[in-house]
Symmetry: D3
Subunit: 232 residues, 6 copies
């Protein structure tokens, strides 16, 4: 890893170390000897899983605080939760590029298919996703968003999780017409390959998508903020 | 005021008491001897003005905490900040109807004209508004969103504020084609009448719009949450 | 009721007195000793049910005529038919606030869920609704619009009607993904509570929604028309 | 003209014979010895100009009545007013194809440019147009809709009218980015050629557009209504 | 046929003569003794069926070359393939009106129902269609697009083809809510009548729709290109 | 460069070597000792600049042929022209990831601002861009698309080009409300830094954006095509 870039900090805003480990393994292929370091962190103050809107809103403060301590060494930040908590706040606070995995996962999916499906964790996640896709202005590309009905910590039961993801993915593909899938939780990272194989359509692991974009930005030296207008 | 309804709590999430006073005066005509009480509160923990995304995200925790203490006496909650901070979190937390002034202000405007203009405080508010209107799915009704370039506390200079609001409102009306105006800050409440008079098109004071809807909901006994599905 | 406000006239444009009675009962909780009177009227010239586009267009003349006779005593008008017949014509004619129940019912639903479903009476109503939601610019929030296949007068068979509404509501909720329901006919007013209970998601009775907003407008003294620009 | 087709009735719903004459001249090139006759009628009951929403709604009854008397001889109906009054009502009533000039004018424009501009008569027409384009689902193709500020009867002053149309057309082209123009009033028919010449971009005369489509439908024998499902 | 108009050239960009014959029969009712000749041509260089994006892109060169040889005699061009290959290129090249059958088929459907369904040939056609409807800005009117799973040459098996079209059409009508159908391949022309009869809702044969519009344009003398701005 | 990945081929479909050199310099920071090689190629068969729709359609054949010869050594393909010529055809043909610079440039811009502006070369490019953004479903995020009025080869006059780009960029920023800019031509690569400095808002060089995404995909081993479904 090259020190001239600063580190890409991937912050998992829940306190689940096994989720962070899954992310860390997922981004391993993006590490390069002459590229920026990639560090995956667990936010100890976070809940076991970021599942409700209160979880999302509640984690922004600690996340901003943690990022502030990393600002000087940072090359970029990736917020590794599919609700992109604090995305725009961190963009205000930091001079570095800041990317969210929901944002980058969906945008990447738009290059892989015409209508994307989202495999969510819980039914309550779906209205939040729909608001977000509306804010992004990409709702017309959404085929469907369906939940597997398992919380973040329950994803540890890998067999059950994968089976549910495949089941839901098939409905998104066959009933809703999705031709590309986005996994709607950072905790699903380890299931990308088997899910893609089972569904036969591309599957986006959103943290990989975001980190790939972050590395590009760091290498290109694109600023996270154009200073002159920062005070407007 | 009738005690059988519970109180409509209008929470100003910034710490500016004069803003709360302006709100309180604005909703006075909605008070009824046999209707719910309307109490306008200032969130002491809030910043002087909620202006940045960090202000928005940062105020959610204190706002939820304050609302929790009021839950039992509450008939409904109105979040009196045009960024609707914590709206969906408070809907999760509370069994009462919860309304945001941006949401209700814009929806009310849709009944008063075909294309709404928004008079924002600062240029940095605008992307946040655009994301929100996108999430609401009403962007095609937006004529324009323009800023007066004054922070919340600067609104205290009434003469300058009104002059700027009229100036911006004219551009929204004449260049952008707005035929109804929404005031994009709770702190602008006192300017509704002169702004409407100056522009000659309807002007929505969003806290009034939200409180009017909240009262209806309280009187009708519409629950904020249907209990059986709350845990889904 | 206070005389200083003028009366909120709720005009049922069909000739079915039992529908008007249902409406009158539904808005009863919105009546206040110090608020505007609420008078629910039946348009004798109307058809038994406003079901076709010809019914909608044909009723505008009598409705405008009736409203003209009420103009001086009126505080506001509510058009109590889910096709909002004559809404924009009455807005032209009257100096009072004019609200339509489809408009207000849908806008209110947008504050109660992310994707609204509509329980229509007849299949032929649906294209008309879709045109209207398109004109309102809210189509991206629509989950689905499905008919119970009963005409307005058939709604009098309450048991059958409710059974059909629940059946259709379940499809809207489970297949189309609606998380809030709008009842697509003023004649359905009496079924709101049992439908909500059966479906476990919020149900909007659109006349209640519109009258609540009308009362707010009357109390706030918001004009229906800004005189200076009325002649443009 | 061939009798086997029935006549294409072009109904001008205002009482202005000179407007009908302008329409009649405009559709002359579409007449064919072996095609359907084209008859342009003036609705005597109509106002001098259909300018307000009340004009639009008020003319539907007489228009339907007139069309009913023509049903047996009709091959198709064209409603020659840019508000398409009674379009969907007449579709219900008649077994013949029914086309509106706003609808056909805009759809035809979509084949001639990427963003269409509308030259309206009065500012008050614009919100009505915007609702209609929203109902049609084509708002994203609209560049702008601007008024010349002349009523239907004032169009008789040809020099002034053309000058205003060119002036407004230039703003639509240069400021709003329109690359095709739709004339937003049947009474503008005689100005198509000079307007196109002055602007250098295609100009759609909407009655011509609608009659061309109506003739196609008549010749092809496409029914206005598929009988078996008419009663649904 | 009158020579003063020039010929409407309908170019089938695949090499299947039987498809051209089906088109020729379909447009027969649009021929008029005093109107433009209509000539249906087969592009010998084309593939047996235009089915993939490569087929679409690959056929543009030969199509433009063929059209160039016809330019002087041409009154208008119609590209008779539902992917509208080379539509905008031919518009650049030719001074004549140029229409595509997908474009005209869909726009015509918008006058016959509120939500259109498309009967496609192959599943791989669907993303291409969706991109096109997005480019046209009419996606909100689309009910669904479903494939019969037969390639262009397989359409020759008429019995099987019609059976599949009816089957798919029923799903579009009953599950997706389509109230008008567009046949998504020029090779389906002969099935319009039986499909409409089987489904009971209007069915658009897109080449008929395009040729009808082309004839109108030729008769009216609307230029394909306004010369003064052609070089911009 | 590591041989295990295959090369990222960036194909400039015009024949202008200086454009390719500009691209090559722009992507230099993305090269890594242990990452895929990045080779920038000039398509000798291409026109000096891809400016018209005919240029776009005409270049697809040679581009596909060239890519076919590179398939075995390729890790991914990037089409370096802002019209993304042949994007979906090459996706059909190749088993490798294929990215277009318009697509990736716009999607990347969505992470840097709320409303993107496009600096186009010629006015005739704009309708083509608008169709493309419509096909992508991102039109609601577009602030404006404006041309500098210089052809691809004219970009060699750097001083004049940059001056025009800054001038147009200011209009996009100040009049249209863009808060992020996309350069709408691969030949503008060398102007990114001075344009960003002049405008004070982020500027996306689209080839950099696309190559960054391509590298990510190659490193992650995401296939360009899921084989099992390729034949559907």
């Amino acid at each position: 890893m090259s020190e001239r870039y600063g580190t890409v900090y991937v912050i998992n805003p829940n306190s689940s170390v096994s989720v962070t480990q899954g992310i860390d393994a997922a981004v391993e292929p993006l590490r390069s000897a002459d590229g920026p370091a990639i560090a995956c962190l667990t936010l100890a103050e976070g809940p076991a899983g970021v599942q409700s809107q209160r979880d999302v809103d509640g984690i922004v403060g600690p996340l901003l605080a943690r990022a502030a301590t990393l600002e000087d060494q940072a090359g970029a930040f990736v917020i590794a939760c599919f609700s992109d908590p604090g995305l725009h706040s961190l963009r205000e606070q930091s001079r570095r590029p800041v990317l969210g995995i929901a944002e980058c996962g969906v945008l990447t999916a738009l290059t892989l298919g015409q209508r994307f499906g989202v495999v969510a964790i819980l039914p309550t996640s779906i209205p939040r996703h729909l608001r977000y896709f509306g804010a992004m202005g990409v709702s017309s590309r959404l085929a469907g968003d369906r939940a597997i009905g398992l919380g973040v910590t329950e994803l540890a039961d890998e067999e059950r999780t994968l089976a549910r993801m495949i089941e839901v993915g098939r409905v998104l593909r066959d009933t809703d017409g999705a031709d590309v899938m986005v996994m709607g939780c950072a905790g699903m990272a380890r299931f990308r390959d088997p899910l893609e194989q089972a569904l036969g359509i591309p599957v986006v692991e959103p943290t990989q998508a975001a980190v790939a974009m972050a590395i590009g930005r760091v290498r290109l030296g694109w600023a996270g903020k154009i200073e002159d207008r920062a005070s407007v």
